[in-house]
Subunit: 246 residues, 2 copies
């Protein structure tokens, strides 16, 4: 937790506590535990904080009672620039989904579509980790790790064909369209400096029909060399290659 | 398991089985289970195989009995080129160590030093995952994932200062020397096409004294932008940025 991510509800309103300044937050639960046990913060210490979808700054510990801590916060800096990216990701297996969402968020992805594909096992769509609150939890972990405040937007699409035919052309309009595919001639471009829509297949890859449908939608197939990487490794490799300056 | 990694002992010698060709292997255990349960291979099917530290090719299933399978192999292709890299990695926590070694191996690192640093918890050095056989297991998983056969060499160094002062100058001689460090001016270079020694700190980073010692040994500090990434994510990001053509 390199950033304590604050939400509007953490701020003490001057109505309920007229003697407390409006820039004061009170934190309990998971963040409190982390501040006490890992940061070992005491009154007078300063922590890095950020407001969800807002600015980043400092929070000074002004009170510590059993079960909660109060910080006086000062928010000044913008969060890091988002990647110019829309990510289209075949739904990974639940365990990998968590890490992949944390990673994608930490790397600065802000628009993520989790889609179906032939090699996505049907059971993955039943995972409790696909509940909006659970997806959000993973994104929060990614933001806290990367010192970012801008929550990604995640969409689920359980049908490949209507998504690619009807929705993807609009989503990917005016962007460079790439699909990571091991069996192709063209290497992944480096430092492309343009808005990009990147599709990544499931374990075992997209099947030829799916690659064809993506190509019909204007996607170029690109590879990452002879090595076959897991999605959770391929994702940082791809994003680092496409956007090394971000 | 995108490659069935074979060892010399898997080959049936013509002495013990005079009616069997010398290019035949017999496989049981973990690899057998995977071939049967995941690949669902049957007699006549062809699998991708590679000989440890040797060539890659095909293996045709010629026999399947309860508990083992026999393949007739034909090895032709070289394994993918290694990265021109020596990796100096502050020992990660055990859970992250496993993934990081798998990733480093899958990405093509062949020389890895796991070293101590101030922010490496002492208990990590007691981890059973540091046994040579356990380190090797993680590397095997990385090779099987990435379709590679060349086993990385891993060295453990429990004392930072003597390593950096006495050993590192020789290890890093004639290479570009980089240390990933968030608090620095210089961004990580892209596509450097030269032999490189890359040092990566623990969670929380190297302390200033350690960065100074590395700088005295000729290392340049480079950063990955404003985002702070976990080691397991920073590693593929760094390697992809330094060597996008590998």
């Amino acid at each position: 937790m390199n950033l304590i991510l604050l939400e509007p509800g953490d701020f003490l309103s001057s109505d309920s506590a007229p003697d407390i300044a409006p820039d004061t937050v009170r934190i309990s639960g998971r963040r409190y535990q982390h501040i006490i046990e890992v940061h070992r913060a005491e009154v007078g210490d300063t922590l890095r904080v950020g407001l969800l979808n807002g600015l980043i700054g400092d929070g000074e510990v002004i009170e510590h009672r059993e079960g909660h801590i109060a910080l006086q916060v000062s928010l000044k800096r913008e969060s890091p620039a988002p990647l110019p990216l829309t990510l289209i990701l075949a739904l990974p297996r639940p365990k990998m989904l968590k890490r992949t969402l944390q990673n994608a968020t930490a790397l600065g992805a802000k628009k993520i579509y989790l889609i179906n594909a032939y090699r996505v096992e049907k059971s993955y769509w039943q995972s409790p980790w696909l509940a909006a609150s659970k997806l959000r939890e993973q994104c929060v972990l990614g933001l806290e790790q990367a010192v970012d405040t801008q929550m990604p937007e995640i969409q689920l699409r359980k049908r490949f064909k209507p998504f690619v035919e009807d929705e993807l052309p609009t989503i990917a309009a005016d962007s460079r369209k790439l699909v990571a595919h091991p069996v192709t001639e063209q290497p992944c471009p480096v430092d492309i400096r343009q808005q990009t829509t990147l599709a990544i297949g499931p374990e075992g890859g997209f099947i030829p029909y799916e690659v064809e449908k993506l190509q019909e939608a204007g996607f170029e197939s690109v590879h990452l060399g002879p090595r076959i990487l897991r999605v959770e490794t391929a994702l940082p490799v791809l994003l680092s290659r496409l956007f090394p300056s971000n």
